[in-house]
Amino acid sequence: MTELLSSLVQGIGMGSVYALVALGFVIIYKSTRVINFSQPALMMAGAVIVSYLVGPLGFYLAVILAVAAVATLALSLERTVVRPMIGRPVFIIAIITIGIDIALRNVLSGFIGADVRQVGSPWGLQRVEFLAELGISVQQRHVAMVVTTLVVITVLFAFFKYSRLGLAMRGTAFDQETALTQGVSVGGVFALSWAIAGGLAAVAGVFAASGAGIDQQLWVVALKALPAIIIGGLESLEGAVIGGITVGVVEALVSTYQADYAPWLGNNFSIVAPYVVMLLVLLVRPYGLFGTKEVQRV
C-alpha cells in the first residue's frame, strides 16, 4: 500500500512536468495547427539557463529570468523561422521545428559539457514524510512539481477564460479568418502561443533537472509529452493535463510493479509503457480521449 501510494505521488509529480510540456505542445497546436517538435530543446534551454544563473542570483530569480529568456527565444524562433512558412503544409513546418530542435540542442550541449550541471533547486532529493501513520515518504521536489503545475494551470486557464488576449487566442484557435475580421492580430496570437509554450517548457525543464541534474539526455523527458498529447487529444488543454498525469502515473506504476508481475517485458519497460498506452487509446479513439473529431468537407 505504501509502495503504491508513494509511486502514485511520484507519478503525479513527474506527470505534472509532462503536463507542462504537453500544454505547450497543445497551445501551439491549437493556434497554428503545428506540432512544435522543438519543445525538448526549449525545455533544456530553460534548465541550462537556470544552471548558469543560479549561482549569482539564487534559484527563484534565476527561474523567472530563465522563463522570460526562453519565452523570448521561442517568440523569436516563431518570428524568424516559422512565420515565413505560414500556408505551407503543416508537416513541413513540423519538420522545421525538428530542425530547430536539433540545432538548438547541439548548441546547448556545448554549454552543458561533459559533466552533469545542477539547477540548484532548494528541494534536491530531500524527502518529506507524508501521513506519518502510513509512513509514506516522497521527494519534496515531486510535491513542488504538483503544486507549481496546479498554480500554472489555474493561471493559464483563467487567462484563457477571462482576459482579452485569452479570448483572442481561443478565437484564433476556433477560426483564424473570422478572428482576423474581428480585429484579432492572428500573428500576435501565434507569437504569444510560442512564448507561452516556451515559458512552460522552461519551468518543466527546471523541474525535470531538479533531481539528477542536467545531462545530455534531459530532452528525452519532453518526448514523454508526445504520448500525453495524443492520449489527451491534440487540441484539448484539459486533455494535455490529464494525458500528462496519465503518462507519469503509468510510468511510475510500471517501473514499480512490472519487474515483479511481468518480468518478460524486459528491463526499463516503464520508458516505453506510455507509448503502449498511446497505441491502445488510439485503437479505440483515433482522436484521443478529448480531441475533436475532424470534420471533413470536400
Binding site: 519538420i95 530542425g99 547541439n106 524486459g266 526499463n268 520508458i271 507509448y275 498511446m278
Partner: protein, 380 residues
Amino acid sequence: MTTPEATPRRRSARLSGRPEMFTSYAEHMRMLNTAPKRRAVVALVVVALLVPFVFDDNTLHILALGFAAAIGAIGLNLVTGYCGQVSLGHAFFLALGAYTAAAISGDPEGRTIGFGVTNILIWLPAAGIVAGLAGVLISPLATRLRGLYLAIVTLGLVFLGEHIFSEWRSLTGGEQVGREAAVPELFGFSFDSDGEILTGDQKLYLLILVVLIILAVLARNLTRSRVGRAFTAIRDRDMAASAMGINLTKYKTIAFAVSSFYAGCAGALLFTVIGFFDPSSFNLLLSVQYIAMILIGGIGTISGSIMGALFITMLNPVTRELADYIPFLTTDPTAVLNHFILEGVLYGALIIGFLLFEPRGLFGIWLRIRNYWKAWPFTY
C-alpha cells in the same frame, strides 16, 4: 470505353527537329523522356561504375553507405513524399531489415541467433519482406490516422522497437554489445574481403550500387504506374482521391508495405557495410536523418532521394575534415565547440534552410540550373 476512332495505342514517332515535343501520353511518361536525360543517366552510371578505380577505400566506404541509405530514402519518399503519409518510424523498419539479414546469415555457432545462410540473394529479399510485412501490420493503425497523429504514432514505434531490440539479447546481442551484420556472399563469392583484383570496399561499393540502381528503377516505375498516381492523388487530397474511387486503405497499405520493404533492404545493406551494430543505432535520430534526406534531396522525387542520402551521409566526414581547417574547431569532445556540435547544428540549420529557401531541395536547385542553361543566353 474505346471507340473505333480512338487514337492508336502505338508510340508515335518523334517529329524531326522537334526533340522536345511529345505526341503521346506514353511518350511523355517514359522514364527518360528526353535525349539529354538518357545521355546524362548513362554518363552518371558509367561514372559511378568507374569511381571505385579512382578513389581510395575510405571514400568508397562512405559512398557505399550513402548508396545504402539512398535505398532507404527512396522507400521513405514513396510513403511520405509520394503518398503523403508522414512516417517518423523508418528507423524501426531499417532495424527489422538489418536484424533479419544478420540473423539469416549469422554464424550458427555464434553468440547470437544465426542460420548460416550467407547468400545475399536469400537474406536481402528476406530482410525486405520481413520489414514489408511489418509495414502491412502497422498499416491498419496508420490508415485510420491522419497527418501529425500518424507522425507521433510512428515515432512511438521507434521507441517500442528500440526497447524490443535492446531486450531481445539472443538476436541483437543487447545494448552496447551488438552483433555482427549480414555477410555478403553470392555462391561462395565474398563481397567484403579483399580479392585478387578488387578490394572489399570496391566490391561492396559495386554491389550496393547495382542493388540501388535496380531498386531505384523499380521505384521510379512504380511512381509512373496506376499505383503511383493513386499515391499522389491521396497525398494531394485524400477525400478527393477516395471520391474518384481510389481505395484509401488499400493504397496506404501498399505504400507502407513498399516503403518498409525498401527500408528493410537498406537496413540490411547499411550495416553490412559497417559490419557491426547494436540496438541503440536505431533511434529517433536515424528516422530524422531519413526525413532530412528526402527533404534536402527533394520531396516526391527518386533522384532527389539519392542526392539527399549522399548529402547527409557525407555531412559527417566533411565536417570532420573541416575541423582540421577551422582554427577554433577541435575534435576534442570536451570542448565547447567541437565538430560533433558543429555537425549537429549544421544538420538542423540545413533542414531549416532548405525548407525556407528551397522547398524542393537539391532536386529543385538542379531544376533551376537546368532551366537556366536550357534558355541560356536568354533569361526565359
